[in-house]
Subunit: 301 residues, 2 copies
């Protein structure tokens, strides 16, 4: 089984990149279907219960590890450019994180662009947080986490909650966060050869769909432009082979400059969202363990 | 969420049929990705544990409901023409069946055609049965089940085990079994308008890939031509909107004629593998309940 090999993610990304570059271009349903296939990489986390829930009008999977505290929950926003991905593509990843953190995870199927561009996904995630409060989850026992676009959405949802004067979750985890909607940044160029999937073209295509009419410098879609003062503590990780590496680096720098408790983890040689290898690679498991330990110290009850 | 609607399967099949008919034709990776999407339909079965296992060299997911007997197991062969599908696309379906039957289920990722045409999948399933015996599962506490091509493989694996003189599982369940590799049969024509996905073209395309050089009348790839004498008891179901309806009808007739204990369930108005709606539709849940009750009476220990 190739999925247990160290290079499985890089190999799969390379195959996907070839398919995305083919003519005629892949249509959106094909792109969505293809990227769902990333789910194959993670090992099945054992002793985890899954249940469909209606989280304030948003379908989600509630992930409950056998020994988890059921008064603690991580809202896990899947990645995929805000255009692809689902609770199914990220079920196992969320399961590994929840197990390590000793919490539940909730994986919402927020609305996707371009049918529902920015800020539809953020609205859905705000609705999910309100639903959690109505279900009795304390905000200080709640965290947000996500990979790629889900890292962006985790931060922007917290910023939106702050703007609305609603209580903030205790912590934010962003795995390979995709923040720079201008597709700028040094590593977008310097890591172009080592990143197997995220080229300027791919990032730009996703950003155009996600943003719709919104400018790429608007703070709520591009947290690199946001005032981060008072934001919940942040853990960000990235692989050093990623074109998006400096998205994680820059948001941690900016958070620290704004007085936010912020931690950066960079894994050598790793690709975008190397966490897809959860249960299969040392690096994915290390980052999950580190993020979970960091989170446990910040969950307030 | 459309997935909870009664017509969700038919709607999804109709969208898939349009995509398959488009020009240029969908390539095989695209077809595989698309059909994986059927997994979205079933509800998450709660209180089920999943684990990756190496089942005699074949990757599989071992599905263990909380209250299940762990000395009983259903080998669940996923459908998809022998060309598509996986343990992921059928995880939830297998979970619902295992819960209803009070058993474990094992969902193997047998090798797919055209890279590995007939009889590679059957060889893999035979290896899985040998592995189960080596793990201490008694053949009389083992069943086989599958949908579409997986229904075919379930029957053909039992016929292969019989040919090899190895012990047979206690029972066979085929949901909408796809057996007729000649793409003949009355309902292939008479239900052409009501079946949303399986046309003669689709069935023929899949059969050509699955068979490779093998003739469509060879008994082990087309159980309608097999001598079924001494085969394990058979439960077959189909929807009466299916072009493959008479595949289920004919195998049950032939099994009875050969003295095999065989049961047919036909659900009115239902599409191919309406079991994808497990946990979402009355008809899917009824068939699962009936198949499970039937199975419990036949498992020998």
């Amino acid at each position: 089984m190739g999925i247990a090999q160290p290079n499985a993610l890089q190999d799969l990304y390379s195959q996907m990149a070839v398919r995305m570059a083919a003519e005629p271009p892949m249509d959106l349903p094909g792109l969505r279907d293809m990227l769902e296939g990333l789910q194959v990489l993670a090992a099945e986390p054992t002793d985890v219960n899954y249940a469909d829930v209606d989280a304030g009008g948003v379908h989600a999977i509630l992930v409950t590890p056998a020994d988890a505290r059921t008064d603690r929950v991580i809202v896990y926003a899947h990645g995929g450019g805000g255009v692809t991905g689902s609770s199914a593509s990220h079920r196992k990843l969320a399961g590994h994180l929840a197990k390590a953190a000793g919490t539940q995870a909730l994986v919402p199927d927020y609305r996707l662009a371009p049918e529902n561009p920015f800020p539809a996904a953020i609205q859905d995630l705000v609705a999910v947080h309100r639903w959690l409060r109505s279900e009795g989850y304390a905000p200080e026992a709640t965290a947000v986490a996500g990979d790629s676009a889900g890292g962006n959405l985790s931060i922007s949802t917290v910023l939106k909650l702050r703007e609305l004067g609603e209580p903030l979750p205790a912590a934010i985890i962003g795995f390979s966060p995709w923040l720079d909607m201008e597709v700028a940044g040094e590593t977008m160029t310097s890591n172009a050869d080592s990143d197997a999937i995220i080229s300027p073209e791919v990032s730009g295509m996703m950003a155009a769909m996600y943003l719709g009419e919104t400018a790429p410098v608007e703070a709520l879609c591009n947290p690199l432009y946001a005032d981060l003062t008072g934001m919940s503590p942040l853990f960000a990780s990235a692989g050093d082979a990623e074109t998006l590496l400096d998205n994680a680096q820059r948001i941690v720098e900016r958070a620290r400059a704004a007085g936010v408790d912020a931690t950066l983890e960079v894994q050598p040689g790793q690709q975008h969202v190397y966490l897809f290898m959860a249960g299969r690679s040392k690096e994915a498991d290390e980052t999950i363990a580190n993020a979970a330990a960091w989170l446990k110290e910040r969950l307030g009850r």
